[in-house]
């Protein structure tokens, strides 16, 4: 199932997308956008790029679902970590 996924053309396509997203990231930093907009955009772009690497280069898209569950656990735990620390981040 994975041999069809390993097409070189597909890898090169993902490479160009990653490259374009990186250029956009650097460009918007220099554009002087409002802070909340900049933070939101940068986080979306970073997660997008990370997902592309995991799905295509690390073949998660073509693997059994179990590996995706393994991969997603750290992110879920990090979200919990942030939630648990929120009272300390924004003390009353």
């Amino acid at each position: 199932m994975s041999s069809t996924a390993h097409s070189t053309a597909q890898y090169i396509k993902i490479f160009y997308i990653l490259l374009a997203l990186t250029v956009v990231e650097v460009a918007i930093v220099y554009m002087g956008l409002p802070k909340f907009l900049l933070i939101g955009l940068l986080i979306i772009l970073a997660v997008w790029k990370a997902a592309l690497v995991a799905m295509h280069f690390m073949h998660l898209k073509f693997e059994k679902k179990f590996l995706s569950i393994v991969a997603i656990i750290p992110f879920v735990l990090c979200v919990f970590l942030i939630l648990m620390l929120l009272p300390d981040i924004f003390p009353r």
């Binding site: 890898y11 970073a46 690497v53």
Partner: protein, 202 residues
């Protein structure tokens, strides 16, 4: 449709999802999940310290965004050469595999060289100019911890990839070993994408 198939329609296939094609691949994924938690803890800690600090400098004013954009580009390229190396060995083309694996290792080495240059420049010039110092200032401390922890991973990856290249050359490793090494290398690339955003761009 047989009765058994009817019962299982819509359910998981009979082959258990917990049984991987390759235990080595599952092992690497479990290791990477643990490693991701280390990085996650560091990045969340970084965010909280930064949020709580009154006088956090604007990163792009202190750090060289353009140089690190080049470093990001380099890691993405080396990730691509890694998948091309994997595709080559899956086709049974060892020559092409060696070429692309060599590029991957070279990319890692240049990345480390640029990071060494960046650190030297920061420690020698930029940080003193901004009255920032490692161990005294949270900005500098968290910067060196995060990029240093990642740099050690790149160093490990270069050593790992070099030994895989040597083992394939001697006929001891095959495509499946390269795939597992690739997982580690792409993970290092993935983490850098996040560090580049959180430490340099935000």
């Amino acid at each position: 449709m047989s009765d058994a198939a009817a019962i299982h329609a819509g359910a998981e296939p009979a082959e258990a999802p917990l049984t991987p094609e390759s235990w080595g691949k599952l092992g690497m994924w479990l290791f990477l999940a643990g490693d991701a938690m280390s990085f996650g803890g560091l990045i969340v800690g970084y965010g909280i310290l930064r949020h709580a600090s009154k006088n956090w400098p604007v990163p792009s004013a202190v750090l060289g965004i353009n140089l690190t954009a080049v470093m990001t580009f380099l890691l993405i390229v080396s990730s691509v050469t890694m998948v091309l190396a994997l595709a080559a060995i899956q086709d049974g083309d060892k020559r092409r595999f060696k070429k692309f694996m060599g590029f991957t290792i070279l990319g890692g080495l240049i990345f480390l060289g640029l990071q060494a240059y960046e650190w030297t420049h920061l420690i020698g010039h930029t940080l003193p100019e901004h009255n920032l110092a490692f161990s005294k200032d949270l900005f500098a401390t968290t910067f060196f911890i995060l990029t240093g922890f990642h740099g050690m991973h790149v160093t490990g990856g270069v050593i790992y990839n070099t030994s895989v290249l040597a083992a394939v050359s001697r006929g001891r490793y095959e495509a499946k070993h390269v795939e597992i090494a690739g997982l580690y290398w792409h993970f290092v690339d993935l983490v850098w994408i996040l560090i580049f955003t959180f430490v340099y761009l935000l």
